[in-house]
């Protein structure tokens, strides 16, 4: 148990020391938030609601990115450099190593969410009830699991270049079609239709519901669960195939 906690701590330290993480998951979303709520006139009717809505969008955007990219690319890197092989011959159980990665990553997500929420309060004086803050943060944390699983799936790739290229494309495509950059309603109809079947929109949708005083839609929960299972099964299948050699 102490071994596991220690390992989680190490994983967190490593993520925080990664300049890409700090830039993509903390700085970029906050800059985005600043631009789309302070600089650009979005012409929305209810500016206060938009400030809240977009705060959720970028928190989701940040956590989704770090789940897919920070985790996935790191896993590929560690395997391609032989580190994963080395860990296997130490007494550290592979399961602890994996769990530490997930827990460490989630702890970092909690930190990201708090930082971004504070940015919202400072920049726009966003105000919500305590329950709304906590439940939206909890949603963003828990509903990130399908994306962690997607990160693990990215992690089965052989080369770091491929993994980083592909995960970047997936990430940006999901962000746009999921209405995380601009509201779904202003996107072209076809993209809206595609986006409504992809996980990112439902990830955002749950948080957007919570700040409007609604419980996340059942459809969103169902679709995210299906994606979680799909990504898990796929990565287990691929991993088995790779290990069969």
């Amino acid at each position: 148990m102490i071994m596991l906690l220690n390992e989680c701590k190490i994983e967190m330290i490593r993520i925080f020391r990664n300049p890409y993480f700090v830039f993509w998951s903390l700085l970029m979303p906050i800059i985005f938030y600043f631009i789309f709520t302070k600089v650009v006139d979005t012409g929305v009717d209810d500016q206060e609601l938009w400030n809240k809505h977009f705060l959720m969008s970028i928190a989701v955007f940040s956590v989704m990115g770090s789940a897919i990219m920070t985790l996935g690319i790191r896993v590929v890197q560690e395997r391609s450099e032989g580190w994963t092989t080395w860990i296997k011959v130490t007494p550290l159980p592979s399961s602890s190593y994996f769990i530490a990665k997930m827990v460490g990553q989630s702890a970092v997500h909690v930190f990201s969410i708090i930082v971004i929420f504070i940015a919202g309060i400072i920049l726009n004086g966003v105000s919500m009830t305590f329950v709304e803050w906590v439940s939206s943060a909890a949603w963003i944390l828990i509903a990130s699991f399908p994306f962690l699983a997607l990160g693990v799936l990215v992690g089965t790739m052989k080369r770091v270049d491929t993994a980083s290229g592909i995960s970047n494309i997936i990430y940006l495509a999901l962000a746009i079609t999921g209405g995380l950059w601009m509201p779904m309603e202003i996107l072209p109809k076809t993209i809206q239709l595609i986006g409504s079947w992809l996980p990112a929109y439902h990830y955002g949708n749950g948080a957007w519901g919570i700040i409007r005083g609604q419980f996340p839609e059942f459809k969103s929960i169902a679709i995210l669960t299906v994606y979680l299972l799909l990504f898990m099964v796929l990565s287990i299948y691929i991993r088995r195939k790779q290990e069969a050699v």
């Binding site: 220690n6 490593r14 032989g82 011959v89």
Partner: protein, 299 residues
Amino acid sequence: METIVEINNLTKEFKGKRAVEDVSFSIKPGEVVAILGPNGAGKSTAILMMLGLLHPTSGTVSLFNQKPQEQKVRERIGVMLQQVSIMDALKVKELLALFRSYYPTPLSMEEMIRLTGMQGSELNRRTDKLSGGQKRRVSFALAMAGNPDLVFFDEPTVGMDSTARKQFWEKVRQHANAGKTVLFSTHYLQEADDVATRILLFNEGKLVADGSPASIKQRLLKKAVSFKMDGHFPKEQFLAMEHISDVSEEKGRIVIQTEDTDRVLSSLFSIEMPISDIAIDKGRLEDAFEQLTVEQGVS
């Protein structure tokens, strides 16, 4: 006495090609064993199977009479693989501490630091900022973190300069002197001869010889000069000459065993013996082992 390593009929096939074929041996505590062979002889494949990282096609491996994947085994072994990679974004000190935490009876932090050969502010450097040589030393310290009873080094000195090599083997010797078992692979005959107490000679996936460095070396290096000679065979005179290890008479020919055929020939000519029909026999240094780097160059 406990058997540390027990390998029985180990075979590994990759797509129908046999990388390791029917290898059996066992290792006792305190032995320093070199797996010697040219590139592609199956040395790494054998080590990966011993570590439980590759599944054998057939045959069995046991370390400390258990499967290599067992937690109890992992606690007693230390490993340095060919590909040296160290977890990034951590300070040297943090990484050493992390590895110590994996083992029930780790080396002291001071001891680990001594093995890295680093001091002061160097220990606070991030692992990704280290030079190649420093990374090697850190990975060596990590391999020793659990004060292992058995260590595996796969081609440990590739890319090291001669000073680094010397320091490395010095530390390994200290570990072996404490009664620990060491197993390493190399394609340098000299290295195996200098360091090991026993050599397992691999070629084309097979274990072709198993013995003391002296016997293996002789087998690999022995050459012979043979000739016909008229009259009396002055055996004593030959044996007194330099570079000649043995002389015998076989099927009417005199056979001189030597490591240096050129010198022997020049001595023979200089004393003007009545000899004829000279032949040089490269002996048992089979073609495959010409690929073995006999002397380690200063790289």
